[in-house]
Symmetry: C2
Subunit: 505 residues, 2 copies
């Protein structure tokens, strides 16, 4: 898999202020105090080094803007504490003074969750960047929140272990950030969600209390599992400063196969077959529709991985195991059966590391390919597998009925709505590639897409989270009772609402 | 693995009332109302059938007593609702009237968590016993809470799937009960904890609110993951009525090896080797010390599984995979290497299903064997692996220093302190086999054992929970801050404290 160090596209225009773009939807909460010189003096006294405070306008941009350059806040201050105790002192002060705070990790989120909207103070954990310990017998890693995911994984690789989560932004995102956002990524099918692999957390509550379950072992049945609340809370309940996580042994062998399939029914059968026959070595099952391939082909100016080209559905299967020979044999048998049963029409299996990387690169180029025509409306959703692809069909039909879509006619605003994603987890990325952002298209898509997902009992955010972008849409995935309970938890831990305001709930 | 339908030993004496045995530690909370005829009338009107209310003294015993016949409550009423709505009506009423309630599943717990102490009403979910749905593509099972674990697993077996948790009491315990107590059991090493596999819950809060996340998919990042609070809350926050859980494909092949090892250092090396070489097929790694084997041999009147007998440590390794031939080869290679390196002194591998069952039976007879001499003090703990076995040594040393222990001398109260457990999860069962329960022995053991565990950063309850037994010892595993946060959550959801009082926190 590719490791992407998130490089921003500074060639694009200045980023509009979120507060202005969404002036109809969000106003500054006047309960929050504005930053004063006395506050700065206090923070300097806590951090003891002026380098850990950023107030220079140019330097602030990096923290105020998200990496897609879609959102921009107006913070005048970034704090970069070196210790958990400093985080505690900062939050306690902010809570007492009612200064709003946005916790920030690697700032690689896709929903504007780690950037301020107005003048919130940015609390970056980038300086909490030490690996605390690793137990080579149990595989338990204890790490500061600000350690970059790729650094943690490289550290583990030397010990023969693996971080149980992987994603494109691994070169920039933080260990604490992926936990705070409950990131999913590429290894979830095999190693499960962070709710299962995270054993303990250290987090600072808004009142400065340091909660720690860092010493927790694999099994501990004493009391409510409080750390779970912080996993996926997107910085609205506390600031995660440390993570203890159970890491699996690094697989010795990997295989990748790229398959062409003629019907969605066959896709489902290939998936259940893979779960059964590849079972313990199946580590990824990625789905791509034919039009996503066509856009990728045009964008990369490369041939299809499967030369015979032009099937309605494609699948990328990855296996990871401890014995190359066994894995090869399992994969061959599985593919042989699938072809014999007529489920798979054509396919290729990577013969070496380069081919393996090329196949993953093709899969991972899909997001860029769909954005290449001028813009893209992105929906990251979960759906029951039987309805998984119907959302893409329904979206194309709707855009077609409104005369908005054509793959080759440049006078139409929409190029194509394509679908791809981690089918093994029920996670679909619906990407609507457009030639231009357009109010008519937006009206055709929303709330249509959200309503469709709700009707089919899906989730409007499978892995990207709510952040600022989806704050107002939570009702499409959660009942009134759940939303009420979520708000109660927020009020319980953060009664002054100083943590990451204007977002999440 | 054996399936044990929990049969009580009714030959033993009458069970003493918990309230009398522990009269120095617990008093009835007089804020709770006593049951009146008008309450019975209300419950009858809700349940609509007199068979769903149990008030007969003899019938009540089954629900008042725990299956070890160690605890006994004095409830005058068991309610067995048929629907979640009835559970809601009952709790709402009890909350308003301040009637205390003990939720009960299969009543197979080991810490007295599912039995009343005084006159609490018992709310049994045994009549909520339907499998709601199963999706053969995603492997998601939706079940009522009162479905017996073995029934759920048999249902899944027919579909080629597996319940991701297994334990000795599977013939009696409920799906809802294992979630409410966050049971660990025999498959945790392979399939992870319930915090990762449970996708959604339906639970009734004390005020009658029905919380449901039953439609949640494998990935859903919208809002705090509230269901996590109920996993392991032992009926103190709400009554679980439905469970949605992700089930893996049922493995086609199983192997079991039984190994003799000369040093604890070698045990750890065998474990890390198994994680590396057996990797994806390793499904159990069970540790047993030599004296636990000696007690088992005397109790079962059988030869050791390994004829050359008498090693200080033994290991049972299980593999589960999709290809018998591959698994055999991996296991053979692994064992060959371990023997060549001098880590393993002797061993046997099950050659057929009968031998496989016999080896598991031997392992699973350990608890009975240690209880066979008159009584047993049981400690279910988690410890970092480097200190895992030192607790057993320290306990034996302490008992020896006080002249309390001798394997063959019947005048000493203690036979032996032995250790065994799920080493793969860091979970040790310290069992102190005694000829009689004895205050001097108890004083030698407690708080010594708890203090030792705290000092070595372990957990005083790895999988059995807190219940009534360990309520007062939570401070040995959790900090004051954590305990405060746990109590706040309890007060938040159950301000009248009607759910499972006198326990947990």
């Amino acid at each position: 898999m590719r490791s992407i160090r998130v490089n921003r596209n500074y060639s694009t225009k200045t980023v509009a202020l979120t507060a202005e773009t969404y002036s109809d939807k969000v106003k500054r909460d006047e309960r929050f105090k504005k930053l004063e010189d006395s506050d700065l003096k206090f923070f300097e006294s806590v951090l003891k080094d002026k380098n850990y405070l950023i107030t220079n306008e140019d330097d602030l941009d990096f923290f105020n803007e998200d990496w897609m350059r879609k959102y921009k806040g107006q913070s005048k201050l970034v704090l970069k504490p070196k210790t958990t105790e400093q985080v505690s002192e900062i939050l306690k002060y902010c809570n007492e003074k009612k200064l709003a705070v946005v916790p920030q990790g690697g700032n690689t989120g896709l929903v504007g969750g780690s950037n301020p909207i107005f003048d919130e103070i940015i609390l970056s954990v980038a300086n909490l960047n030490k690996i605390r310990s690793f137990d080579e017998v149990s595989g338990i890693l204890k790490s500061d929140a600000g350690v970059i995911l790729e650094n943690a994984d490289n550290f583990l690789a030397e010990k023969g272990y693996l971080f149980p989560l992987d994603l494109g932004a691994k070169g920039s995102c933080h260990v604490g950030g992926v936990v705070a956002t409950n990131a999913g990524g590429l290894r979830l099918l095999r190693y499960g969600s962070l709710h299962g692999t995270v054993l303990g957390l250290e987090a600072v509550l808004p009142d400065g209390t340091i909660y720690s379950s860092m010493d927790s072992l694999r099994k501990d049945n004493t009391g409510y599992d409080l750390k779970q609340l912080f996993i996926g809370s997107e910085g609205t309940l506390g600031v995660i400063t440390g993570v203890s996580i159970l890491c699996p042994a690094r697989p010795a062998a990997s295989n990748v196969a790229f398959l062409a399939v003629s019907s969605y029914e066959a896709v489902q059968k290939v998936f259940t077959g893979a779960r059964r026959e590849l079972s313990e070595i199946l580590s990824a099952f990625e789905f791509m529709d034919g039009t996503s391939q066509e856009l990728t082909r045009r964008y990369l100016k490369l041939d299809y991985p499967i030369e015979s080209g032009d099937y309605p559905y494609y699948i990328l299967i990855e296996t990871s195991g401890s014995n190359k020979e066994h894995d090869d044999e399992k994969l061959e048998t599985f593919l042989g059966n699938a072809m014999e049963e007529g489920l798979v029409d054509d396919g290729v299996v990577a013969q070496d590391e380069t081919q393996l990387r090329n196949l993953w690169n093709w899969r991972e180029s899909l997001p860029e390919a769909t954005a290449h025509w001028g813009g893209v409306y992105k929906y990251d959703v979960s759906l029951p597998l039987k309805d998984y692809y119907k959302l893409v069909e329904a979206t194309n039909q709707r855009l077609s009925e409104r005369g908005l879509i054509d793959l080759d006619d440049d006078s139409k605003p929409v190029v194509e709505a394509v679908g791809y994603g981690h089918l093994g987890d029920g996670n679909l990325h619906l990407n609507v590639a457009v030639r231009e952002y357009n109010k008519e298209v937006e009206k055709a898509l929303e709330p249509f897409v959200y309503e469709w997902i709700k009707e089919h009992k899906g989730s409007i955010s499978a892995e990207h989270g709510l952040g600022f972008q989806k704050k107002n849409y939570i009702g499409y995935s959660k009942s009134d009772i759940e939303i009420k309970m979520i708000k109660e938890i927020k009020n319980h831990y953060d009664p002054n609402c100083i943590l990451n305001p204007y977002k999440y709930v």
